[in-house]
Amino acid sequence: MYKIADFAKEINRCIQCNFCLQNCPVYLEDAVESSVARGRLNLIQALLVEKTLVATERAGELLNRCLLCTNCVQGCPSGIPVDDIVITARAELHKEYGFSLGMRFLLKQVVNRSTMTNLGGWAVSIAKRLNLAPDAIPHLVSKPFEQRYLTKIAAKGEVRGRVAYFIGCATNYLYPETGEAVVKVLTECGYEVIIPEDQHCCGIPALAHGEMEAAQDVVRWNAARFADLEVDAVITDCTSCGYMLKVKAAKTLPTDDPYQGKVEAVAKKVVEITEFINREGILSNLRDRIGDINGKMGEAGAASANVRSEIATAAEARQELAATGDSGASLKVTYHVPCHRAWSPNLVQAPRQLVPNLPDVQLVEMKEPQKCCGAGGSFFVDHESIASSIRGHKLEDILSTEADAVMTQCPACRYYLSQGLQEKVQVVHPVELLAQRITTR
């Protein structure tokens, strides 16, 4: 469980090498050593383990000013779970000092989907309470993904297997087209898809905001819905949900919690969708049904039809331009690698390996595909100015590729990048690029 006492040893293993200076997106902007993993760990140790410092506002600020992006963890030779430790410290500081964290109200509402009734009103009321700039608030779809599909969708053609689909909040409320693409690809490839009813948020936003109990509740709730299903895999389209289900869920509960067994059973089966496609080699099932759509973004749900028509126009315009050349129209995509990537061995390569299968799509790498975009879940809402400076470098990198679209498997990155890119470049989930090119049986 996330208790600082359990992490005291881990903090001690920090050898103070400062290697984390290299990759911390916040440090790279703030340039002060208190803003890097080592600084945070030493601060947490002083505040909560050795109790040699008393927390002031600045302590709260330094600990909240962490994206939980795990870039430090990935480069830390001692493998210190910095994000877990920051999460724990937030929860304990919150208990001990009552620090208020910007998004608390929102979380209470979001984690338990059954309390969400009037979505439009919900978004507006959060905006009012948090006094936020309007563009920080995502525009939610009127009909969430979960209300569009049956709980069991049959495989098409020869049956290859059966999988469960974990619907993240972003797919549910913001990007149902990702969910539609996942279902399309899986069923067309011969998988029966089970979508358990009443799924809740994975819990990672609650953890990030120090809402330990809320996180525990949803972890247990979801584990109960997925653990006993007879499925080959539990699919997620979101790298942060995957990280939560695979790694963090077990840590969220006490070690002797009766739900640990169920949590573990789910964790074993969690796979990110593009990684699953690659791992199972299921594209071979589709070989002659993946088509060229002339570099367009194809059909999908009604959710963001207007956005899509803009894309189509842009693509058509490019197509006209390209018509003078000898090659057919193609969609140039670049790949933004989500920070929550280390939990799964190949999710960084999987989307790249998907592209050669799409006849009219071409991959152009940006200079630093792995560099953080600044979203950090909902970090950008509370820390607008630093998040947008972090994003600034990313946008520059993306624009310099002259790509038509960016693909990424993280909906927070997708949202935040698309706000920054406006209409210039579209942001999609790689599974959508694939789904758009599959002719249905």
Partner: protein, 463 residues
């Protein structure tokens, strides 16, 4: 010290002055364990800002501790009570890479690896490769004479400094040297600042010598059943004149830790490993590789493994860079020794370290840049256990003494800092230390620059 912050904020932007305890805490140490709170941290952007801050501190007799990335392993960047830390990392422009003269001029806060990338893009080469290069700064490298695996063939930072811009404690700026590769005028002030560990002034800019990038590289690992045999092989390789561009020794305990972190598929029951890199023209590299393999075989090597791709080679070296941190998984604290001996004495030194470990009942993992005689024994300890800590420090002292007895030096590349300051006289005698102290006083009459470093009693009230 009221008013300090207000004064500093009059000298540079307020957002580059830090005095809250949470921020200061992050600056209480380098990569060593002792922690001391400074009074404030400032981040200058220009030489003139450094000058203003030093002039002020000198007038007020406030100790100043220059700091790069704080990765030092000798306590050099650890503050002293009441001090002002000068965080130099914001001065990070590469001002010029001169392809015709093969030089580069850069600010002290440039990260070493960024500098590598910048010159390598142009087909040029800056060899010094401290294993902390992903974060450490050129200023820190110059101030400590940092080295790395390539030292065996290419020397260390000190061999590349052509010119220097530095600010003296009274705020005066001096320039010495430049792009000329030879210079025979006046005292070599560039050399004097090189390795000065922040005790003479603040290095703000340096001009470094560059080479052209070797066209071809190859890495290999040789696995030995016995530590002695591996150490003997090192001397034999050097004697045969096949100069590798990297020749590192790893021992059993280090491999066990490394394998847990980055599996290289090395046998866990072997006692010692040599990690070797060769560079130059392809034909010559292959020829030397053949000679080295023959030497390994003559010394009873168990197996040799050549990296099949650049990626595999990078993995081997990445693992080597992770060694010290990986060792830290074994104990709460690790003291990294840096004693260096003549290359022919490596086998003796390795045996002596084993004996010291046994005598003091303490675990010491031996690894290091053996190709240039620079060993990095890692002494496992725990700062919360005073008795063990005492034995660890005793081991450090004994290793240092032994290295000196064998004609070596206290430090090959990490510097003296505070950790080795007590031993300075062993190496230079009273006269030598007195002269160094007079040099220090000539630069820094008020003793504000990084007091207590190199000489335990230098600076502060003692000058």
């Amino acid at each position: 010290m009221s008013g300090l912050v207000r004064d500093l904020e009059g000298l540079l932007e307020a957002r580059r002055v830090f005095a809250q305890q949470e921020d200061l805490l992050a600056y209480t140490n380098d990569a060593t364990h002792r922690r001391v709170f400074p009074e404030a941290v400032v981040q200058p952007l220009t030489t003139s800002e450094v000058g203003k801050v030093l002039e002020y501190a000198n007038r007020k007799r406030i100790p100043v501790v220059p700091r790069g990335a704080g990765t030092g392993l000798s306590g050099g960047a650890t503050p002293v009570p009441g001090s002002l830390v000068l965080d130099m990392k914001r001065m990070r422009q590469i001002l010029e890479v001169d392809q015709r003269n093969l030089t580069a001029t850069l600010e002290c806060g440039v990260v070493t690896q960024e500098f590598h990338k910048a010159v390598e893009r142009l087909g040029l080469f800056y060899p010094p490769d401290p294993q902390s290069m992903s974060v450490c700064t050129i200023g820190g490298n110059v101030a400590t004479r940092a080295g790395g695996p390539r030292g065996v063939k290419y020397g260390t930072t000190k061999d590349y400094v052509l010119g220097i811009e530095a600010v003296l404690p009274d705020g005066e700026v001096i320039h010495y040297g430049g792009k000329s590769v030879k210079m025979s005028s006046g005292y070599d002030l560039a050399r004097l600042f090189t390795g000065s560990e922040g005790t003479l002034g603040v290095i703000t800019k340096v001009t470094m010598k560059l080479l052209t990038l070797p066209p071809y590289r190859q890495s290999m690992v040789a696995v030995f059943g016995e530590l002695d045999a591996a150490a003997e092989t090192v001397s034999a390789i050097i004697a045969a004149g096949a100069v590798p561009s990297g020749l590192e020794l790893l021992t059993k305990s280090s491999i066990e830790t490394l394998e847990a972190f980055i599996p290289l598929g090395l046998p866990k029951d072997a006692e010692a490993f040599l990690l070797i890199e060769l560079d130059g023209h392809e034909g010559k590299v292959h020829e030397d590789a053949g000679r080295i393999i023959a030497i390994c075989e003559a010394h009873g090597v168990r197996e040799t493994k050549i990296a099949q791709s650049a990626a595999e080679a990078e993995r081997m070296w990445f693992a080597r860079r992770a060694l010290f941190p990986a060792t830290a998984r074994l104990a709460p604290n690790v003291l990294i020794e840096d004693a260096t001996v003549n290359r022919t004495e490596v086998p003796t030194m390795v045996r002596e370290i084993k004996a010291i470990a046994e005598r003091l009942q303490i675990t010491i993992g031996v690894s290091g840049h053996v190709g240039d005689g620079n060993l990095h024994p890692g002494i496992l300890t725990d700062k919360s256990n005073p008795e063990l800590m005492q034995r660890a420090e005793a081991a450090m002292g004994e290793i240092a003494k032994k290295a000196l007895e064998l004609g070596g030096t206290l430090s090959g590349e990490h510097g003296i800092g505070t950790l080795k300051a007590p031993y300075l006289e062993w190496e230079f005698g009273r006269e030598g230390v007195q002269l160094m102290r007079r040099i220090k006083a000539a630069f820094d009459p008020n003793g504000i620059m990084n007091p207590g470093k190199i000489g335990a009693e230098w600076g502060g009230a003692n000058v």
